[in-house]
Symmetry: D2
C-alpha cells in the first residue's frame, strides 16, 4: 500500500490571511494532511490554487492515484478547464477525497449533480461522529464513535445524491445531524466526502481524523479494473437476424 500516490490540494488562503488559522496550520492545511499521510506510508505531494494551473498539471495528475481536496473561500477562482481535467481523471479511475468545506467546490458539485448545499454554524460546538457501516474499510481502526470537541456545524438536509455507502453520521450539540462520510462510485473512480475539518480548529491533528484519511486513501485508490470503452459497435457480439425495416 505504501506506493499509493496522493496529491493534497489546498486553496491555501485562510492560512495566509487569518492569524488564528495560521497559528493552527502554519504551513497550510495541505501540509498537515500531507504529513499525516506520509506517516501512514503514502507517497504524498501537495498542490495549491496559486501555483500555475493550480498545481494540477497533466504531469501531476498522471502521477496521482488519489487527490485530496480542501477549498473554502476561493471555489470560484478554480478555473473551469482545470476542473474539467480533474473530473476526467476521476471518471477515469483516480480517487477523490473531498474535505469539509470542499462540499461547495466545483469538482464536487459537478460530480454530484446537485447543489451540495447545507446548513452551517460556527460557534465551536461539539460533534460526535458515529460509524454506521462498521464492515467498511474506511471504518478500520475506529471505535463506535469519535468526538470532535469543537467543530463547525453542518446540518441536514445536505443536498447530495444518496451515497452508495453511508459510513458516518454526525450528531451536533446544537441540535442537528449530518451524513458525514459518504462513498460514491463515479465513472471508474471513487469519491469520498468527509465532513470534519474546519480551518479554525486543529481537527487534522486528531488521531481518528488521520486514521479516516489514511483509510479513505486506500479505499479510493484505483483498482486496476477494466478500461471502459464507449461508442459505436456496428458489429454485434452475437449473430443478429437481418432487419429490413
Amino acid at each position: 500500500m505504501s506506493s499509493i500516490k496522493v496529491t493534497v490540494w489546498n486553496e491555501f488562503r485562510h492560512e495566509k490571511t487569518d492569524e488564528a488559522v495560521a497559528k493552527i496550520y502554519p504551513d497550510g492545511i495541505h501540509e498537515a494532511v500531507a504529513e499525516s499521510l506520509r506517516s501512514a506510508g503514502f507517497d504524498v505531494k501537495t498542490a495549491t490554487l496559486d501555483q500555475p494551473e493550480h498545481g494540477l498539471t497533466s504531469d501531476v495528475l498522471d502521477d496521482t492515484d488519489v487527490l485530496i481536496w480542501w477549498g473554502h473561500m476561493a471555489h470560484r477562482e478554480v478555473q473551469d478547464e482545470i476542473v474539467a481535467r480533474v473530473k476526467e481523471r476521476i471518471l477515469g479511475g483516480m480517487g477523490l477525497i473531498v474535505l469539509h468545506s470542499g462540499h461547495f467546490s466545483k469538482i464536487f458539485t459537478s460530480l454530484m449533480g446537485t447543489t451540495c448545499n447545507l446548513k452551517w454554524r460556527e460557534i465551536g460546538e461539539k460533534e460526535r461522529v458515529y460509524v454506521i457501516e462498521p464492515g467498511h474499510p474506511i471504518a478500520e481502526g475506529l471505535g463506535e464513535y469519535f468526538e470532535v470537541p469543537h467543530s463547525e456545524m453542518y446540518g441536514e438536509r445536505f443536498d447530495i445524491p444518496a451515497p452508495d455507502t453511508l459510513v458516518f453520521l454526525s450528531w451536533f450539540e446544537g441540535g442537528e445531524v449530518f451524513r458525514s462520510g459518504c462513498c460514491y462510485h463515479r465513472g471508474m473512480g471513487k469519491v469520498f466526502y468527509f465532513r470534519p475539518g474546519h480551518e479554525s480548529y486543529p481537527i487534522f491533528y486528531q488521531p481518528e481524523i488521520k486514521q479516516v484519511l489514511a483509510n479513505a486513501v486506500r479505499w479510493a485508490a484505483p483498482v486496476g479494473g477494466p478500461t471502459v470503452t464507449f461508442g459505436h459497435r456496428p458489429e454485434p457480439v452475437e449473430h443478429v437476424e437481418p432487419y429490413e425495416g
Copy 2:
C-alpha cells in the same frame, strides 16, 4: 392523479429532416408521447428546441409537474442558461423523465455528474426488457418482461451513478445488456431514465412503453414534501455551551 401537469420536450429535428422518421412520427415524437399521456388522463403540453427559450420559459416551468425530455442530434444547441433553469426546477421538486438518446443531453449529464456514455448499434435487433423491482410503482401493469421487436442497442457499461432503484434491465439480441430503467432522487426532485424509444421505430406507440411513461409520470410528480432551506444558522436549535477558542 389526472391533474399532474406534464410538459413533453423534443428537439424536433429528425422528424423534419428524415423522411423515415417523419413517417413514423408525423407530428413529432413529442406529440406521440403527449397523446399517449393525454389518454392516461394527464394535463399535457409540449415544447421544442426551436421555440423561443426552447419553449421552456419560467411560465411554462411554473406550470409543469413533470418534464419529459427527448433529444438526440442537437444536444449542444440547448442553451446553458435554459439548462440551468430547468435543473434548478428539478432540484426544487419538478420530476424529469429522460428518454433514450436523452442520456447525452446537458440536463441529464449535469444531474448525473458522469459522462452517461455507452455502447450503441442500430441494426434493428430485438430487445427484451425485464422488470427487476416488481414492487416499484413504475412496474404497474406490466408482465415479467416485454419485448421491443426492433430497437437500437445500448450496451453496458453505461457511465451513470448506480441508480437509487433499478427497475428494468434489457437483453439485446446482439449480445449486450443494459440498465434500462433507472430512478434517482436529486434535490427535492426525482429523475427517471428510460432507455427504449428510438426515432426510427414506432416504439412510443407500444402499449408497454405507454404504460411505463404513465407510471413514471405519477412516480416523478412532486410530493409536497418540505421546502428545504440552506445557509447560515447562527442560533443553535439546542443550547450550546459557549466556546472561547
Copy 3:
C-alpha cells in the same frame, strides 16, 4: 386511495398490565393508530396477539394491502408459522410498516436478515426527526424536521441492511443519532421501518406521526406490478445452439 385496506397489529399487552400505558392508550396502541388512519380515509381493521392465529388468518391477510406491526415484550410468543405466513404475503406484494420496538419482531428480523439490534434508553429525552429525502412520498406534508418532546432513545449502530431509501434521521438530546425512517423493497412487497412511537408517550396522537403513517401506507400499498414466477424454464426464449457437452 381511500380503498387501501390496512390491518393494524398489536401485541396488546402493555396496555393491559401497565396503568401508565393504559392511560395514554386506553383501547390499545392499535386503536390509536387505526383511528388516525381511518381519519385519513383508509379502510382499517385491527388484530392482536391473543386472538386465534394472532388475528392474522389467511382471510384477514387476503383482505389486507398494508400491515402495520407493533410489538415489544412478547415477540417470542408470535408463532413461527404465522410469521412465515405473513412473510410470504409481504414477499408476494403486501406492504409492511414496522413501528418502533417492532425492530425486534420476528417478521422484521426475518425480512432484514440481521439482528436489528440497537442501543436504547428511556429517560424521556427529546428527539428531533430530520427529513433526509424531501422528494420521497413519505415526506409529504412535513416540515424540514419535527420534534418528539419525550421519547425513548434508539441509538446507532442500528444493525440493519442499508435501506434502499433513507427518509428520516433522528437527533437525540442524550447524544445519539438514528436512522429513523427506512424503506426497503423485499420480494414484490415494500417495508417501512419507522422509529418513533413508544408506549409510554402519546406519540401516536402527534400530527406529524399520523401524517407519516398515512404517507407510509400509501407508499407501501401494492402497485399491481408483474406476478413474478420462478423455477425451471426448459425452453429458452431465444434459439440456442445445441451443446453436446
Copy 4:
C-alpha cells in the same frame, strides 16, 4: 494479503454420485476452488457437509476470515444450529462468498430475508458477464466482459434485496439477464454472491473466475472496524434535562 484465512465449504455430493461431475472435479469443487485461491496466496482450508458439524466447528470459524459456500442438492441437510453459528460469525465480521446454486442455501436466504428464487435452465448455453462497476475492487484485472462458454442459465427476476453494489450483469444466449455479482454489507460482515460456476462445467478452472474469487476474498475479508455493542444505555452521553412524565 497473503495472510487472509479462507475456508471453502462444499456439500460434496455431486462429485461422488455423478460421474460427469467427478470427471471435471475429481477432488470436489472445494478442492478446485481452494487450489486456485492457494495459488493466489491465501491460507486456505476446506470443509464439507458430511464432516462432524459440517466441518464448521467453532475452532474452524475462529480461524476463518472468509467463508466460501457451495451447495446444491443438500441444502436441507445443513443443520439449523450450524447455520445460526455461521450467521453469527458473518454478522460479527467474517466474509461470505456464495457461489451459484448456493443462492438457495439456508445461510444465504437467511441473510437476505427473501426467497432468493430465480428461473433456471441447463442446456449448456453461452453466458457473457459484464462488469457494471469498473472501480470496484472485485473488478480488478478483468476486461469489460468475459464469457462462460457453456453455463447453466439463471434468469431474472432474482428474488434478492437490491445489492449495495451491483458489480456484474449476465447476458444469456437463451434470452435472459441476471444480476451475477452482488455485494452486501450485513452486520459487521460482507457478503458477495457470484452466479457463475455449475458443477457440470469446468468453470472454476477459468482464469476470469479465479480472478473474481481472489478479488472477492480480499474485498470480503474483515477490516478491523469497531466492535459494535448493543443494549441498554441508561446513562446519556450528553446531559439530559430530567423529565417527570
